[in-house]
């Protein structure tokens, strides 16, 4: 059975490593064993680098032994979404087109993790180029939800969430373009935060939609996520859209969890019809918990949020169609049809046909359409205007309340395969998360217990103004204190036993 070390949250593990009670090597070894035990069922990892992880762990142990000061998460093993460039390991982005590509450089956030002495266990699965809500668009097979292996782990950072929820890592990193951290966090009973756009560097993070993407942390607890958030955040001169300002006090907020007098606005447009009753029930329960902790609850209207999904599905594919153009078989990645008879252009076509899955093709074609001459104004141009209106909705709302709240996603984890051929149904999973990406403000999903309908995790979304990320953790910590851990209900359950079969 599992080594008990893996059940320590990251903050506790780091403290014990720093105190010398546990070595980072032991902890890393324990996680590698857990991966060996359960990942054949979960299939979160695409690549595990045990050797390098152990070497990193030993360095931390040596530093400690030498009496050097350790950073707050030193020695804690973590999983990286396969969208981050980490020199030495392949970076596939879940796509066959990048099969075998090894980036010759580290992403800035990876560099920061290494500088902070975290231990990188490996790279985890994701929807192809982060395009999906179930990790089923990956070219490397499905990842399974540890709460029910028949169900989706969410997406696109499904591997990051499933690895963390099945205790195959103490922390994990994801990216969020339209909900890709928050939705998987919600359906796995985890904390997942989309920081303010520009507050975390995108350098070395393979782009899906440049004006929406942001890397962010997953944690099993609010404090864990805050510590990881702190470790990766801050200005990066290699990313022109990086904000040159101090990181908000997220760790302090996660430790305090004081919501006395805080004004919470329930977004009228993000709820009601189309939401699973169990999701609505848990959301309301969470509101009561927060109210009991001293928060004020009011209803707020954001009239343009109903157009967010439409605007998103024009802006995102437009940027996708351009960002994914570089996968043309000339400089890296797979090459199909280079037999001396096909021209470069034909090789590009054949490679992109073979290398991209359906969802990538759909989005590239939609984006190509939305940007093409004669349609730009009606599609891309109009969507950018809606983006302005949504931003204005947020500004007005934040003039009335400190944070906005909603369910993270309308449903709990669905069955694998259920929405694969119904793109529109798939897209609706991001209904509540997309507005924050369009506006660039921060937003997080926090566990709100299990749905009474099916016993699966439900997420509670908190949205705050740009660079007020600390408020997310403040509310998240209050919720955690009032509701207890959702994830702890997995350990020892029937679903848990199934991981080991």
């Amino acid at each position: 059975m599992a080594n008990e070390l893996i059940f320590l949250d990251a903050a506790a593990l780091a403290a014990q490593i720093a105190a010398g009670d546990i070595s980072s090597r032991e902890a890393t070894q324990a996680y590698l064993e857990q991966i060996a035990s359960v990942d054949n069922n979960v299939h979160a990892y695409l690549a595990v680098d045990g050797e390098r992880a152990l070497a990193q762990a030993e360095r931390v142990d040596a530093k400690r032994a030498a009496g050097e000061a350790l950073s707050p998460l030193a020695g804690v093993p973590l999983a990286l979404k396969d969208i981050f460039c980490y020199e030495g390991l392949p970076c596939t982005c879940g796509s066959r087109i990048l099969e075998g590509w090894r980036p010759p450089y580290h992403a800035t956030v990876v560099q920061r993790l290494l500088q902070a002495d975290l231990v990188i266990l490996g790279k985890v699965n994701m929807d192809e180029f982060a395009m999906g809500s179930s990790t089923e668009t990956s070219g490397y097979g499905n990842t399974h939800n540890p709460w029910d292996l028949e169900r989706i782990p969410g997406g696109s950072s499904g591997g990051s969430a499933a690895a963390l929820a099945s205790f195959q890592a103490a922390l994990s990193l994801g990216t969020d373009t339209g909900g890709s951290i928050r939705q998987p966090a919600a359906v796995n009973g985890l904390v997942g935060v989309k920081p303010t756009y520009g507050s975390n560097s995108r350098y070395g993070v393979v782009a899906m939609a440049s004006s929406l993407d942001v890397p962010g942390p997953f944690g099993r607890t609010v404090l864990d996520a805050a510590l990881l958030h702190q470790a990766i955040s801050g200005h990066d001169p290699r990313d022109s859209t990086s904000i040159d300002a101090p990181v908000p006090p997220v760790v302090a907020a996660a430790k305090s969890g004081d919501v006395q007098g805080l004004k919470l606005g329930v977004v009228k447009e993000l709820g009601g019809d189309g939401y699973e009753p169990g999701v609505t029930a848990q959301f309301e329960h969470a509101l009561q918990v927060l109210q009991a902790a001293g928060a004020q609850i009011v209803e707020v209207s954001c009239p343009h949020f109903k157009y967010a999904l439409g605007a998103y599905y024009l802006i995102m594919p437009s940027e996708v169609s351009s960002n994914l153009a570089r996968f043309d078989a000339m400089r890296y990645g797979i090459r199909v049809g280079d037999d001396g008879r096909h021209s470069a252009e034909e090789v590009m076509r054949l490679t992109r046909q073979a290398g991209f899955g359906d969802e990538a093709k759909r989005r590239i074609i939609i984006g190509t359409y939305a940007l093409s001459a004669g349609y730009y104004d009606a599609y891309y141009g109009s969507a950018q205007k809606v983006r302005t209106l949504i931003q204005q909705d947020f500004v007005k709302a934040f003039a009335q309340v400190d944070v906005l709240v909603s369910p993270t996603t309308p449903s709990t984890a669905w069955k694998l395969g259920e929405r694969v051929d119904d793109p529109l149904a798939m897209y609706k999973a991001d209904l509540c998360t997309i507005p924050s990406n369009l506006a660039g403000n921060c937003s997080g999903s926090f566990p709100a217990g299990l749905s009474p309908d099916n016993g699966l995790p439900v997420g509670f979304q908190v949205m705050a103004p740009p660079m007020a990320d600390d408020r997310l953790y403040q509310v998240g910590a209050a919720l955690e204190a009032g509701m207890g851990s959702t994830l702890s209900q997995l350990v020892g359950s029937e679903a848990w036993e199934a991981l080991y079969v």
């Binding site: 000339m330 400089r331 252009e345 992109r352 359906d358 009606a378 205007k385």
Partner: protein
């Protein structure tokens, strides 16, 4: 925006512009899905008035520059490390049928 439907022929043209070869089977499968997606987002074009400024960058920022200073490049080997085919320190690519 009365008629926004995407025909199979239009999808084929767009795929061509995006350099994606599509088989007839793929076209037949994807075209109706794309048409549905486009119809579902069509209302976006009717929301905002002419007075609304479009937003291209989520966080307002201007004039982000770097100094004109040379830093070491990566090695030629690193540059070519991902190349499907390399020759003579260069990326080898299939024949190009085009104008220069």
């Amino acid at each position: 925006m009365a008629d926004m439907a995407l025909s199979v022929a239009e999808v084929a043209k767009l795929a061509d512009l995006a350099r994606i070869e599509l088989s007839d089977e793929e076209l037949a499968r994807l075209a109706p899905q794309l048409d549905l997606i486009l119809q579902s987002v069509a209302e976006v074009s009717e929301v905002a008035g002419a007075d609304v400024a479009p937003t291209s960058h989520a966080v307002p920022m201007e004039n982000v520059f770097r100094e004109d200073v040379v830093r070491p490049s990566q090695s030629v080997a690193a540059a070519l490390s991902g190349a499907p085919v390399a020759e003579d320190g260069r990326f080898r690519v299939p024949q190009i049928l085009g104008e220069e």
